[in-house]
Point group: C2
Chain length 253, copies 2
Amino acid sequence: MGKIISVANQKGGVGKTTTVINLSAALGHRGKRILLIDIDPQGNAASGLGVNAQEGVTSYDILINEVSAESAVRKTATPGVDIITANQDLSGAQIELVNMLARESLLKRALEPLRASYDFIFIDTPPSLGLLTVNALTACDTVLIPIQCEFYALEGIAQLMTNIKMIKQNLNPSLLIEGVCLTMYDSRTNLSREVMEDVVAHFKEKTFKSIIPRNIRLSEAPSLGKPISAYSPESQGAQAYEKLADEFLSRNP
Amino acid sequence: MGKIISVANQKGGVGKTTTVINLSAALGHRGKRILLIDIDPQGNAASGLGVNAQEGVTSYDILINEVSAESAVRKTATPGVDIITANQDLSGAQIELVNMLARESLLKRALEPLRASYDFIFIDTPPSLGLLTVNALTACDTVLIPIQCEFYALEGIAQLMTNIKMIKQNLNPSLLIEGVCLTMYDSRTNLSREVMEDVVAHFKEKTFKSIIPRNIRLSEAPSLGKPISAYSPESQGAQAYEKLADEFLSRNP
Ligand SMILES: Nc1ncnc2c1ncn2[C@@H]1O[C@H](COP(=O)(O)OP(=O)(O)OP(=O)(O)O)[C@@H](O)[C@H]1O
Ligand SMILES: Nc1ncnc2c1ncn2[C@@H]1O[C@H](COP(=O)(O)OP(=O)(O)OP(=O)(O)O)[C@@H](O)[C@H]1O
Ligand SMILES: [Mg+2]
Ligand SMILES: [Mg+2]
């Protein structure tokens, strides 16, 4: 049965989409069947995988129009990775969801029928703790938290953990932390090292040993609609996500 | 009469807070009276200026409890710069605002009495196009758009412009673009140059000539609660924000 994993952090620009895409691609290469579902109105996951989010059924249709998730699934050019895209229609969804019945668990009910077809289902979330991210944290088994090696990124962790606890108490009692992944690590700066030390001290063995370095190839790849493994497989960025995939699988045999 | 300027871009991590803080500080040094109001539940603006957002009246109280904005104003250690802080209380506000009367213009009405006391009032917004950012775009005279020199940052511009047009048509007919500011420019990469060329081609003279380079001092400064001008005045980051302040004032004599 497929495991559902949200990739979440309300701090903006910390590498949520980059991690979802490149971890999914690396797991796909290892023969795993992956579904990536995007519930961020920015819709970056689609363009990062070379898929046009302006056509076909999207996550908006699943949440608001109660269309089946199955009908929204699309293939990508990356072996083993399917996608459900998001686009700007979703930005009105935060308001539309407020008065819907059982609004926090719409995504959970929509994804249940898909679990059996995939090994892992990853949910890319927007940089907020609103109803879209609440839906993701209610639908998932675990949450993977990318943390950028910057000061402001540390500040947001307490808020994120409070919200995760609240979801666990009220909506999803079995919710666990999949792990914490350090991103955009710059070995030349003290700041990166200090953030890493703080994160490891706080999250201990939940912190993935694979650290994602700041690497220009990772920010170039989306402009070609390819994951890093297809764009620049020898780069430090690609190597780091390969290691992360191995470590992820060792935690999920 | 003070001019109200929102700093907005729904893409996360593009330098909204960094720009609000450092532009405000540079204008404060030039003798201008600045109010910075934070409506992002992450509350980064407060810590970047060394102010504790967990005490006192915050922007949540202004929006939801109809407390006067004046009672929320606090001094900072930076000459000429006052602040209204935000904290996690605001993350529930998106939902609380939905059913309030005239929910889009709560901030506008709250800030009117403060206009006369400041030369410029800057609003730091969260990375989303929800009701908090709608309140900012309804309250302001102009919007300053930081654009990170990255591929995903380009993708979000169309959505942002559509939303600005919608606000202009329905809520704030006099809304204008203050300007577009390129951030985290890395002169060693083609990507930065390509993004810059695209942005200049699209926004023309609205693009500020002062480009903010990627500079580690800018990401270190918040950990000491200081703007870059106080932390590392000789750094490239500080020089860039000084130039931006001069250019901003030449557009707002
Ligand atoms: N390790 C890295 N090295 C260099 N650039 C990176 C790295 N990871 C991500 N980036 C770039 O940094 C920017 C932010 O990353 P990304 O968009 O994945 O973050 P996000 O958390 O999904 O953002 P948002 O909060 O807006 O959804 C993107 O332009 C991306 O290409
Ligand atoms: N020019 C720069 N050079 C290096 N680092 C920068 C620069 N500008 C901002 N940063 C750092 O990049 C990160 C993102 O910047 P910032 O938090 O200001 O963006 P934001 O748009 O306000 O993010 P959010 O969308 O989460 O509100 C921060 O850690 C900040 O310190
Ligand atoms: Mg993203
Ligand atoms: Mg910010």
